[in-house]
């Protein structure tokens, strides 16, 4: 508990905020063991009843599966499970396919993050510079792309890019070209869909952030003779920093975990698995190759990578002064 919180809260004096460990300041004290359970724990109980069995337990099971030998024979109960230690992990890490999938996952995610941020930021700045109607139009369009489910976004773009009856081939005059055949072309097309889905979040968040900067500050800077570039670099950028951090990390987490678009658009990972990303790779290893423990090991590795990103996120949230 940060010290600042305590003092800020203490100013309220007799506020409902009080240490649950200590006795309630006043009021109806009931007897019996139930009354000893602090109020906030009662309020958290329903959430715990859902999350512990359906989130915590599967997470533990994921870790457990990753150190077992668990394939189809074990899943159907015919063969007892067997503890194999870290051998699933050595299998995964010794497989050259894992490293190439990891590499292309990182490259794909990095490309999507950068493209989403650039498009989103440019649109956010644009929104502050245009008239009312263009602004509403762009907001409306972005909202539509944001709301569109990953599944339908994928199907629509697949139709647009279709080899024989797609609009893109018609416009470019490249009838018969299959955009999903080449590995990098397929990745690029999926990236277009991912960016289309996720730039609105960046745009609307940053636009709201820019709007929240008080005009008086910008005016004062202008009176002091600051140019547009200086105002942007010295005032807007530092003020938007906390928001930028949130947007960047959220994008990293989302784009690292892209599943539906890859799975649907490339038909489960592309020709000969050329378009696999870690998420789809783990899923295919488990449910198609029926090697559940290997899939679980990949899942654990992925979770560890994302936890590292999250740790950075939490640190920067705290540094930006958000009260946890």
């Amino acid at each position: 508990m940060p010290a600042t919180t305590v003092t800020a809260r203490a100013d309220h004096g007799d506020s409902p905020v009080r240490s649950a460990g200590g006795a309630p300041a006043k009021g109806r004290r009931r007897s019996g063991p139930l009354a000893r359970i602090p109020v906030p724990l009662w309020l958290l109980l329903p959430a715990a009843l859902v999350l512990i069995p359906l989130f915590g337990y599967p997470l533990y099971q994921l870790g457990l599966l990753s150190v077992l030998k668990f394939g189809q024979p074990q899943a159907s109960g015919g063969v007892p499970t067997e503890f194999v230690g870290l051998s699933n992990y050595t299998d995964v890490l010794g497989d050259s396919q894992f490293w190439s999938v990891l590499g292309q996952t990182l490259a794909f995610a990095a490309f999507c993050v950068v493209a989403t941020l650039v498009v989103g930021a440019v649109c956010a700045v644009l929104l502050t510079r245009v008239g009312k109607w263009p602004r509403l139009l762009l907001m409306f369009g972005a909202l539509g792309a944001w709301a569109a489910p990953a599944m339908t976004g994928s199907t629509v773009w697949m139709f647009l890019l279709d080899t024989n009856s797609g609009l893109v081939n018609e416009i470019l005059g490249t009838q018969g070209h299959n955009w999903m055949y080449d590995k990098w072309s397929a990745f690029a097309m999926v990236a277009v869909v991912v960016v289309w889905h996720s730039f609105p979040f960046v745009m609307i968040t940053l636009y709201a952030g820019i709007q929240a900067i008080p005009d008086s500050i910008l005016e004062a800077a202008r009176l002091d003779g600051a140019g547009t570039a200086t105002i942007f670099r010295r005032i807007m950028l530092p003020m938007l920093r906390p928001l930028l951090v949130i947007v960047v990390i959220q994008s990293i987490i989302w784009d690292f975990k892209v599943f539906t678009q890859i799975y649907v658009m490339t038909g489960g990972g592309g020709i000969a698995g050329q378009n696999l990303v870690l998420n789809v790779y783990a899923y295919q290893k488990a449910f198609v190759a029926e090697n559940y423990s290997l899939g679980a090991a990949i899942g654990v590795l992925m979770t560890l990578i994302l936890l590292a990103v999250t740790a950075v996120y939490i640190r920067s949230l705290r540094r930006s002064g958000e009260e946890l």
């Binding site: 263009p134 990953a150 599944m151």
Partner: protein, 282 residues
């Protein structure tokens, strides 16, 4: 100088309009293609208009392919998830923003971390968990809507709690204090004072829960093994055939799936933006 800035502004307007049209075009194309007659869809020269709109594709999707059923399944799962998750998240958010207790920060960080976990990897243990639950309670086993409701509830809760916490914290504590001095019970304060004040935030949070449940593809694909209990996203895959995709049907089904989310989004869009804007003012 002045003319320059006017030209710049006009240019910016044009760019914004072009970007808006590009962004919205895929959605337009989806609805348009759903309304096109069969011949125009398979044409090698697609046109961005149609003079013979027809509901054949919708009729086909809803009737022949049973999308009406999948639509209702999706709706049932999403509505249950929204209502239950709103209630649970509200209580948890109050606990986390109105009380101080040991492990509060730890619990908060756990809610944050939970949002980062790759849920697709968790389908592996969840598949076996749901299979085992099914032997005791078939209503929540494999191929049951109950299982989808539970799983989607669990995976929409962390974000809902995290988001709702901000809305609860924004309500001035003095209101509750006044009510308490007037002798209101804890339950009354929660239900009659805090709940109505947090309602807009609850609406915004509900949209995200709705979308999580409505868009879920991987759980439905993994946990639902029969066609009767399938939901929309996974059922959409039925239209994909190796030889020739029925694009008219796919677009009609996609439209049916997108429209409810669009309506929800437009309804609460204001709350979302104002909620986010608050983050910078701290």
């Amino acid at each position: 100088m002045k003319r320059d800035s006017r030209v710049l502004r006009q240019g910016a307007n044009v760019v914004a309009i072009v970007l808006a049209l590009l962004t919205v075009f895929p959605l337009y194309w989806m609805v348009l293609s759903a309304l096109k007659p069969k011949g125009e869809i398979t044409s090698a020269h697609p046109r961005p208009w149609t003079f013979a709109p027809t509901l054949d594709n919708f009729r086909n999707a809803l009737g022949v392919s049973g999308f009406g059923r999948y639509f209702l399944n999706s709706l049932a799962v999403a509505v249950v998830v929204v209502v239950v998750s709103a209630a649970i998240a509200f209580l948890a958010a109050v606990a986390l923003s109105r009380f101080k207790f040991r492990f509060r920060t730890t619990i908060l960080i756990m809610f944050l971390v939970a949002q980062m976990v790759p849920v697709e990897a968790l389908t592996i243990p969840l598949f076996f968990l749901v299979r085992d639950i099914g032997t005791v309670a078939p209503g929540f086993g494999l191929s049951s809507l109950g299982a989808l409701m539970l799983v989607n509830l669990a995976f929409s809760l962390p974000f809902a709690v995290w988001m709702l916490r901000g809305f609860v914290a924004a309500v001035p504590e003095s209101l509750e204090e006044a009510a308490r001095i007037d002798g209101a019970s804890r339950f009354t304060i929660l239900w009659r004072i805090l709940f109505p004040l947090v309602a807009p935030g609850l609406a915004a949070t509900s949209v995200f829960s709705f979308i999580t449940a409505w868009n879920d593809f991987v759980f439905a694909k993994t946990l639902i093994l029969d066609t009767d209990h399938q939901t929309l996203p996974a059922a959409l895959m039925v239209f994909f055939k190796p030889d020739e995709n029925d694009w008219g049907g796919i677009m009609a089904a996609s439209t049916l799936m997108t429209v409810p989310v669009l309506i929800f989004f437009v309804l609460v869009q204001r709350h979302m933006v104002s909620g986010l804007g608050g983050a910078v003012k701290d």
